[in-house]
């Protein structure tokens, strides 16, 4: 029997009728199996051994098999930065190895899932594909992997997604790009790592693990359960949950101390006029209709209306314009000016939720800048330089969190941010660390008075408080 990888599946040439996991394909008159059965098929034929991965004739083969499917190389990698794994990270890795290097690990957000991924890549010793839900996360993995393994690989870390299409022995991608291209590359990786693996259970994404032959699989997540209960499907494709660390066990351990200082700015009279005009259009529309805009359902109703009611559409645009005016108020730049003066010797990260604003600031104050548009490559370089001290300041419109790649800063300045509770808490927790000889790290939040921002900021801090309480 000859195993061949074909467009995300395995064609089993000259297979006996007893072959498991396979279906007869009358289109080509051969047996065909899903690619993820690769290891099970080798195992069935007596050709799978865990340690040297090459069974020998002395073991006796149950079935003769020619493996023309495997196109992934062995890799001997050691993370460049020898960080001692924390106890639970070591325990998670051990548990994964004990489960034949298949399965998912549940670790709380911010507990070093990426680090565990690095350990797994070094341990499995084969080429690896890392799949993440967002381009942000993909970029963070890229930076981390480049730091850890960059010098040991002949090629760069591959990037598939966000406009790049480079495949390397270690490659990062997003769920969307992986779904689109996995049938082409499903034979090239021996280890599949899925970050935020609970996303994988979606009907479409499930085909990512199905269409790869990778005999080793690691799922990482903080929240394995899904509302729809589909996590059961993950077990078949990725292996069982092999390790779980509860949130409570880690709480407080890595959250650094910081002090929040809120600063207010006014709109200029021109900005105020425009803001009030736009806000009024929005307000009038909301007030003249029967839904509560502050509730999730009410907001959904509003959005629905904007697709068929021209006034609703205008109201939505008005809301967006008003928000933008508040977010990018020119006086924020004056305040930023003062803060940069005060902290010119510190390590400062400036956040904005708006790409254009980040570039304006970058030009004005000559700060290195990272946005969603920044190449993965340049992003990694800028963060490297920030880590090494070559750069001491950074402007970004991206969420830098959930990873070990983000270098510490002792001053954070939020010019505008998203109201998402979780995002905000993570931003703070991950990035701010007090420097050796200084007082606690500082977080400045610059908000525009008498605008929607005042409300958002309040909600945001409530969010931090409640998640810290839990």
């Amino acid at each position: 029997m000859r195993l061949e990888f074909d467009d995300g599946t395995l064609v089993l040439h000259d297979a006996p009728e007893t072959v498991p996991y396979a279906e007869w394909d009358d289109r080509v008159d051969e047996y065909r199996a899903q690619a993820y059965r690769y290891r099970a098929l080798l195992d069935w034929a007596g050709h799978w051994t865990e340690d040297d991965r090459q069974a020998t004739l002395q073991d006796g083969f149950t079935h003769d098999i020619e493996d023309a499917a495997r196109a992934y190389p062995d890799l001997a990698l050691t993370p460049a930065l020898q960080i001692e794994p924390r106890d639970y990270q070591q325990a998670a890795l051990d548990a994964w190895r004990a489960h034949d290097r298949q399965g998912s690990v549940i670790l709380p957000t911010g507990s070093g899932k990426t680090f565990l991924g690095l350990q797994a890549i070094a341990d499995a010793g084969v080429s690896a594909l890392v799949v993440t839900p967002t381009i942000d996360l993909m970029n963070q993995w890229h930076a981390t992997l480049t730091n850890a393994f960059g010098d040991q690989l002949t090629d760069d870390i591959g990037v598939l997604g966000g406009g790049s299409h480079e495949i390397g022995a270690v490659t990062v991608t997003t769920y969307d790009s992986a779904y689109r291209y996995i049938d082409e590359y499903g034979d090239q990786f021996g280890l599949l790592i899925t970050d935020e693996t609970h996303h994988l259970a979606a009907e479409t994404y499930l085909q990512i693990p199905e269409m790869t032959i990778a005999p080793y699989r690691l799922g990482l997540t903080a929240t394995y359960e899904r509302a729809d209960g589909r996590e059961e499907l993950l077990e078949d494709r990725m292996g069982p949950v092999v390790y779980e660390e509860a949130v409570g066990n880690l709480a407080g351990e890595f959250l650094s101390e910081y002090e929040t200082i809120q600063m207010s700015v006014e709109l200029t009279s021109e900005e105020r006029t425009e803001y009030d005009e736009e806000y009024q259009i929005y307000r009038d529309y909301v007030d003249s209709h029967d839904f509560d805009i502050w509730k999730e359902q009410g907001y959904a109703e509003f959005l629905k209306r904007t697709s068929y009611d021209p006034h609703g559409r205008r109201a939505l645009v008005a809301k967006q314009r008003a928000e933008r005016i508040a977010r990018t108020a020119t006086k924020k730049l004056d305040t930023l000016d003062n803060l940069l003066k005060r902290h010119h010797d510190d390590r400062v990260i400036v956040f904005t939720a708006n790409n254009d604003f980040a570039y304006d600031i970058s030009r004005e104050f000559i700060l290195p800048c990272i946005t969603h548009q920044t190449d993965t490559d340049e992003r990694t370089e800028i963060l490297d330089r920030f880590r090494s001290g070559e750069y001491s300041m950074l402007a970004t419109s991206q969420v830098l969190d959930e990873g070990i790649d983000v270098p510490a800063a002792n001053v954070g300045i939020i010019l505008s941010g998203s109201a998402s509770k979780r995002q905000y808490a993570q931003r703070l927790g991950r990035i701010l660390r007090p420097t050796d000889d200084r007082q606690p790290a500082r977080l400045y939040e610059i908000i525009t008075t008498d605008t929607m921002e005042t409300y958002v900021s309040q909600r945001r801090r409530d969010g931090v408080k409640s998640s810290a309480d839990s």
Binding site: V28, D334, D337, L340, H344, S362
Partner: protein, 427 residues
């Protein structure tokens, strides 16, 4: 939106793109957004704009690599912080000094340095080509070869613009149908002409097929000899295991092939986003007015075929030559012989010409030929090829060897000898 409104919107957008030639992409996008402010049909505007953007080329305008400029700026700035807007004594010239020092280093002007810093950002790139209209000094060789070119020019007559509106709306209709197909799990097509074109696109887009010969009414028949057309079920390798939208993109890419046919039907199963248990049927045919922008390819693969067809027209024989009239299903591929030869009395033979090919291509062709199971399948083979009668398997006796060109009457003789009697076959 009424037809007239569609045409108006299309014309407005085309005009917008034309007037933004040479302008930054960000400005063009802002102008498009402005059209959608109190328009609930904003999705249509955005969809049309997307298709027009596909016809555009944007170019970065910088004398020096922007990344190089900013890296030097940041390196230099790092030693000079604070660089601020409201300077206290001694700090007021920092910003200017950094910019001009880097400009001098790179040998560019201060303005070029400031503007070039982020010239590679998408919204700072300039529109240099829209369809066939370009900015002055546009270097055609330096640009990528584009896909479809627009016809018409703003300086030309009104009816040219009309044509462009038609073009845009035709593409839009096709794009809408393609968008539906992204969630398709299976596509079923029926075609009655252009078989070669259809199945070469099936292969190009990586679709798998099951093929059934059909008659003029679309009813399945036993033999390709009786076929007026072909029905094909199209999906992908993993469709064997479960219904999947995975191949929807391939089906969407394939769709523009169908309007190349004079008569066609398409039916697709469309899955609901998150659950494969719910599905809808999506049906289209040649009466729906879709227009293709794909190419039908060359009518003839080789000079030998073209010459034979020309000679046949002048020859005195009742046998008629039909181009690519049969489709043999060979599992993962199809074999479409070059010609069918038909007599008014119903007799019919299938002809494949094996001309001047590379050894690799010959080997794969022979493999295909040996798989064809038809007694009326005859071949014309060049004597110059490195192959012998036994290479043709069951068809070995039905080979006509030729030196430089094929004579019509030799082929007729072969047809007389091996043609099937379709009337008889049917009984």
């Amino acid at each position: 939106m009424s037809d007239e409104q569609y045409r108006e919107t299309a014309a407005t957008l085309i005009d917008l793109f034309e007037t933004h030639l040479g302008e930054p992409k960000g400005d063009l996008e802002a102008a498009i957004d402005e059209l959608t402010v109190d328009d609930t049909d904003y999705k249509i505007v955005q969809g049309l704009a997307k298709l027009l953007t596909d016809e555009c080329e944007f170019e970065q305008q910088a004398a020096v690599d922007p990344r190089e400029i900013r890296q030097r700026l940041f390196e230099r700035a790092n030693d000079r912080y604070p660089i601020v807007r409201q300077p206290t004594l001694g700090e007021d010239t920092q910003k200017l000094e950094v910019y001009s020092a880097v400009a001098d280093e790179l040998g560019i002007s201060l303005e070029a340095c400031y503007r070039g810093m982020y010239a590679d950002l998408d919204h700072n790139k300039r529109l240099v080509r829209f369809g066939e209209q370009t900015v002055d000094g546009y270097d055609e060789d330096a640009s990528d070869t584009s896909t479809t070119k627009l016809t018409g020019n703003s300086k030309q007559a009104y009816d040219q613009t009309e044509q462009t509106v038609d073009w845009l709306l035709a593409r839009y209709n096709l794009a809408l149908a393609q968008a539906v197909l992204y969630d398709a799990s299976e596509m079923r097509i029926r075609v009655w002409d252009h078989f070669g074109t259809v199945f070469s696109y099936v292969k190009l887009f990586g679709l798998m097929h099951r093929i059934y010969p059909i008659d003029a009414d679309g009813t399945r028949v036993d033999s390709t000899d009786d076929a007026a057309g072909y029905e094909a079920e199209l999906d992908g390798p993993a469709s064997l295991f479960r219904k999947s939208q995975k191949y929807g993109i391939r089906m969407a890419n394939f769709l523009p092939t169908l309007p190349l046919c004079d008569r066609w039907e398409m039916n697709a199963e469309i899955l609901d986003d998150e659950s494969t248990s719910n599905s809808h049927q999506f049906t289209l045919d040649h009466t729906d007015g879709l227009v293709s922008h794909y190419s039908t390819g060359q009518r003839f693969d080789s000079d030998i075929e073209r010459t034979l067809a020309r000679k046949w027209e002048r020859a005195n024989t009742e046998w008629e030559l039909q181009r690519e009239d049969d489709v043999f299903d060979l599992g993962d591929e199809v074999m479409i012989p070059d010609f069918a030869i038909e007599h008014p009395n119903g007799r019919r033979a299938i002809l494949e010409i094996v001309g001047f090919w590379t050894p690799e291509y010959l080997a794969s062709k022979l493999t295909k030929i040996r798989q064809v199971e038809a007694d009326n399948f005859v071949l014309a083979v060049s004597e110059r090829l490195d192959c012998a009668g036994e290479d043709f398997g069951d068809a070995a006796d039905r080979v006509l060897w030729f030196k430089t060109g094929i004579h019509v009457y030799d082929v007729v003789e072969l047809a007389e000898a091996y043609a099937s009697n379709t009337e008889m076959d049917r009984s």
